[in-house]
Amino acid sequence: MTLFKEEQVGVLEGLLFAVGNEGINLEQIVYALEIKEDVTLALINELKSRYKKESSGLDIIEVAGVYKMTTKKDHAMYLKRLIENPNQRGLSNATLEVLAIIAYRQPITRHEIENIRGASSDSIVRKLLTFSLIEEAGRLEGPGRPILFKTTTDFLDYFGIQTLEELPELPFVPEDFILDEESDLFKLPNEA
């Protein structure tokens, strides 16, 4: 069954509406519409350009490998009026700091995080786990077999990026001053 383009755009819109914040990837749209990938991409662009018009309140974003239907960025100020406590400042500085360390150094143990920060981070790590911004990534083969942590796809979505490669670059550090991993007492020398 082949649909005319107008109908296909409509079906795509319906799909995006149905999946909501879970998003839908390119393959799923291809499968549902029974059309080729390049045609699908053209449809997505078509719908996006329609949403650009002032008469629309919607938008499509691409995060963590999926397409999501959202409200328009420019309308955020109006939508915020519906929120009872709009003091959403996001994550605290300390939480963001721990998350940054995990994001750039994953997989990483809690001890390594604390070593970098010079401060205990247990409760923050637990908070990040409940927010599902990080998850366990097995255990380090070493004394005590400590749990390793890595970021999740929710993490990518939270910062509106597709992959970890899109993370902002870390500030430059001269080579002489890059922290020697071996100086960490609890880290085993690489056996490989």
């Binding site: 960025k73 500085n93 700091e97 750039y104 010079g118 401060a119 939270y158």
Partner: protein, 245 residues
């Protein structure tokens, strides 16, 4: 010298050190341990005077700083090996500060991304579960042994849930033959019985005996087991029922 002490303003001793270096406009690479140690200790004392609880990691850092400082005060010619150690500790501290500052700085960029993404609102996906068909039709109207096992398992599960916390053990032996006789009498009278109704007593022995008796009866071709739907009960009926009733 007076310090404005902000509670919880620092994420840890490294953060405090970075703050002190910034205030003193000292480059990290040019850090002078003796100066920074004094400032650090002043800060800790100020916190003490305000009776703030000082986390142990701040004290560990204070000890490290004092150690580096005191080592550097010792006459050089006497402690050549020690000097090397002093350099090491100082360098490690600088490395740690630089390393930590990297993440602290990138946090600002992440904050921007967070705020940007926060402007787009989404809604949860549609719950499709009410639209999923819950009864599955059997392809043929024959009963498979797996279904029998499944029904038995369901029965045992229900039994477990119904079980009282304390059970009195009464031993009463019945044979498969006894059970077969009772069942066939019941079935000839009732014509059709639900599988789940056959087990009027819930002890393992009774259930096993009943199950065996049932299999024997079906094997003898006097009775048949039918299940209309995958999740429905299995019914046992007598083949000769029509003649008797």
């Amino acid at each position: 010298m007076e310090y404005k002490v902000k509670i919880d303003a620092f994420e840890g001793p490294l953060d405090l050190l970075l703050h002190l270096l910034k205030e003193a406009k000292v480059d990290i690479y040019e850090i002078k341990i003796s100066e920074i140690t004094q400032q650090y200790l002043d800060y800790i004392h100020a916190m003490e005077q305000l009776q703030l609880e000082i986390a142990s990691e701040y004290l560990v850092m204070a000890a490290t700083l004092i150690e580096i400082k005191s080592k550097s005060l010792l006459p050089k010619q006497l402690v050549e090996i020690e000097e090397e150690y002093e350099e090491d500790t100082r360098e490690t501290l600088i490395q740690k500060l630089i390393n930590y500052r990297q993440y602290k700085e990138v946090t600002k960029n992440l904050r921007e991304l967070e705020e940007e993404r926060g402007q787009f609102y989404t809604k949860p996906p549609i719950d499709f579960s009410p639209y999923i068909e819950s009864t599955i039709k059997l392809p043929e109207q024959t009963l498979q042994v797996e279904q029998l096992i499944l029904a038995f398992e369901q029965l045992m599960r229900r039994h477990r849930l119904n079980q009282p916390l304390k059970t009195r053990i009464v031993s009463q032996t019945i044979s498969v033959d006894d059970r077969m006789a009772t069942l066939s009498k019941q079935l000839k009278y009732k014509k059709r019985m639900a599988f789940s109704r056959l087990f009027d007593r819930f002890d393992k022995e009774y259930i096993v005996i009943t199950f065996l008796a049932l299999l024997e009866l079906v094997k003898g071709k006097e009775f048949i087991m039918i299940q209309e739907n995958y999740d429905e009960d299995i019914y046992i009926s007598s083949l000769e029922g029509d003649d008797i009733v």
